[in-house]
Amino acid sequence: MIAIIDYQAGNQTSVHRALASLGVPSIITDDPLALRAAQGVIFPGVGAAGQAMARLKATGLAEEIVHLAKAQKPFLGICLGCQIMLERSQENEARTLGVFPGQTLKFDPQVKDEAGAPIRIPHMGWNEVRLTQKSTLWAGVDPKDQFYFVHSYYPAPAKDLVLGLTSHGLEFASFLGREGLWAVQFHPEKSGPPGLKILQNFYAYCQKVAHAQ
C-alpha cells in the first residue's frame, strides 16, 4: 500500500488514478499513522511554496514528513513536493522542510534557450531528464523518454544529491535525492508510459524494502 500525502494540494487524485491504472493500491491520507503504516509515501504538490508550507505546519504533516525521511520510509516527492524537501524557496521566501540541503530558485526570464529565444516561464511541457547517477527508479526508462513539467521555480540541491538534469535555459536538477528517498520536479503521473514506469519502479522498491524487513 502506498500512502499519498493529502494536504489539499490539488494533484493527489491524479497520482492516485495513475497508481490505480497500474494496479497499485494507494490511499490519500493526512493521518500520520496511515503514513507510517504504508510501504511507501508519495508527496505530490502543485501551487505555491509558502501556502503549502503553512498548511503542512498547521496540520503537523511537516514534522511527520521529516520523521518519515529519517526513518528511511521509501519516499517520492513530486513537483512542489520535490522543492519543499529542500531548505528554502525563493517563492514567498519560504523556509521549507530541509530534508535535503539546497534551495529552490526562480527561473530568470532573461536567460535564453538553446535556440537563442528567451525561455518561457513557467517551464511547461515535455523535456528530457539526463541521468547523472544510476537509479533503480529509472529501470526500463529510455534515455530519450520525456516527462511533463510545469513550474516557475527549480530545485538547486547540494551537488551530491543530483541524480538527473534537465535543460531549460540552464541545467537544473529535475531528479534528486538518494536511494529510497527521491524527488522529481516533473509529474510522473502525467508523463505517459515512462512516467507510469517510474511509479511502478517506486512501488517495486517499496515492496522489496517491506519484504526485507
Partner: protein, 258 residues
C-alpha cells in the same frame, strides 16, 4: 530542451463529441473518452476539451466525462467553455483536469483570473483569447478581442489584453484566430508572433491547421510553444504521429511518439 507540444482539441456537448472523430477503422466515435484515449496512445502531448453545453444538466454530464478521461489518459488536459466562477473551476480540477481555460468570463470580469491563480496556481489557469483583425483606433495592435464563441466583438485590443491577463496571473495563453479558424489555410502567424514575443508565458497557436507545414510555421515563425489541432486530426487527414514526425524531421524539438 523543452519540446514543442501538439494538442488535439475536442468539443463536447451533452457528453458527446460535436464532430465525430474518425479513426483508422473508419468509425465515427461520439465518445470523448474513447477519442482522448486514442490521441493519448498516438502521442498527443496534452488534450483540450471545450464544453459547449448550454444546460445545467449538460454540465453535470460533462463533469462525469472529465472524471472518466482522467482515469483513461496520463497526460495533462485542460477544460474550457463557460467557466465563470472559482467554484466551477474547482469542480473540473477536482474531477481530474490539470488546467482550466477562461475566455469570455475573464474579459467581462478580469479579477476572475487573479482569483483563479490564487486558488489553484498560475500553472492551472489558461487564457483562451479569440482575436481577429481590426482597424479600430482602440486596437493599436491591429487585433481585437472577440468573446461569446466568436460572436461578440469587444473593441478591446488583443495584445493589451494578453499582457493584462499575464499580469493578472494566467500561466499560458491559447490564442485562437477567428479569421483563420476553420479555414485549414494555416495559423494566423502575425498575431501569433506578436503575442508570443510580447509575453513570457507559453502561447498555444490555434485556428487554421490544414497541413503539417502550418504547424511548423506556427512553432517557428509564430514562435508558439504549442499548436492546437482539430479537424486536421479528427477527420484522419493526418495522424498525430505523422505530424510529429514531420516536425521532428524539420528540426522542431518534439517528444517522439513511439
Amino acid at each position: 530542451m523543452l519540446s514543442k507540444r501538439l494538442i488535439p482539441c475536442l468539443d463536447v456537448r451533452d457528453g458527446l463529441l460535436t464532430k465525430g472523430v474518425k479513426f483508422l477503422d473508419n468509425q465515427n466515435l461520439g465518445d470523448p473518452v474513447e477519442a482522448a484515449r486514442r490521441y493519448y496512445l498516438e502521442g498527443a502531448d496534452e488534450i483540450v476539451f471545450y464544453d459547449i453545453t448550454a444546460s445545467a444538466e449538460g454540465r453535470g454530464i460533462f463533469l462525469k466525462v472529465v472524471e472518466k478521461v482522467a482515469e483513461a489518459i496520463f497526460i495533462p488536459f485542460s477544460v474550457g467553455g463557460g467557466l465563470s466562477s472559482v467554484s466551477q473551476m474547482r469542480d473540473v480540477l477536482l474531477a481530474g483536469a490539470e488546467k482550466v481555460s477562461l475566455n469570455s468570463a475573464a474579459v467581462k470580469n478580469p479579477p476572475l483570473i487573479a482569483e483563479a491563480a490564487t486558488a489553484f496556481g498560475s500553472q492551472a489557469v489558461v487564457l483562451g483569447l479569440d482575436a481577429r483583425k481590426s482597424a479600430l483606433p482602440s486596437c493599436p495592435s491591429g487585433y481585437e478581442v472577440v468573446i461569446n464563441g466568436g460572436r461578440l466583438a469587444t473593441g478591446q485590443d488583443a495584445l493589451a489584453w494578453a499582457l493584462e491577463a499575464e499580469r493578472l496571473g494566467v500561466g499560458e495563453i491559447c490564442l485562437n484566430s477567428i479569421d483563420a479558424d476553420g479555414t485549414q489555410d494555416g495559423y494566423e502567424l502575425t498575431v501569433t508572433r506578436l503575442i508570443s514575443e510580447a509575453v513570457t508565458v507559453p502561447v498555444i497557436a490555434s485556428g487554421g491547421a490544414g497541413e503539417p507545414r502550418h504547424l511548423l510555421e506556427a512553432l517557428t515563425i509564430g514562435q508558439a510553444s504549442a499548436a492546437l489541432v482539430a479537424s486536421i486530426v479528427h477527420f484522419r487527414q493526418y495522424e498525430i504521429r505523422v505530424l510529429k514526425k514531420y516536425l521532428q524531421d524539420h528540426g522542431c524539438p518534439i517528444r517522439p511518439s513511439d
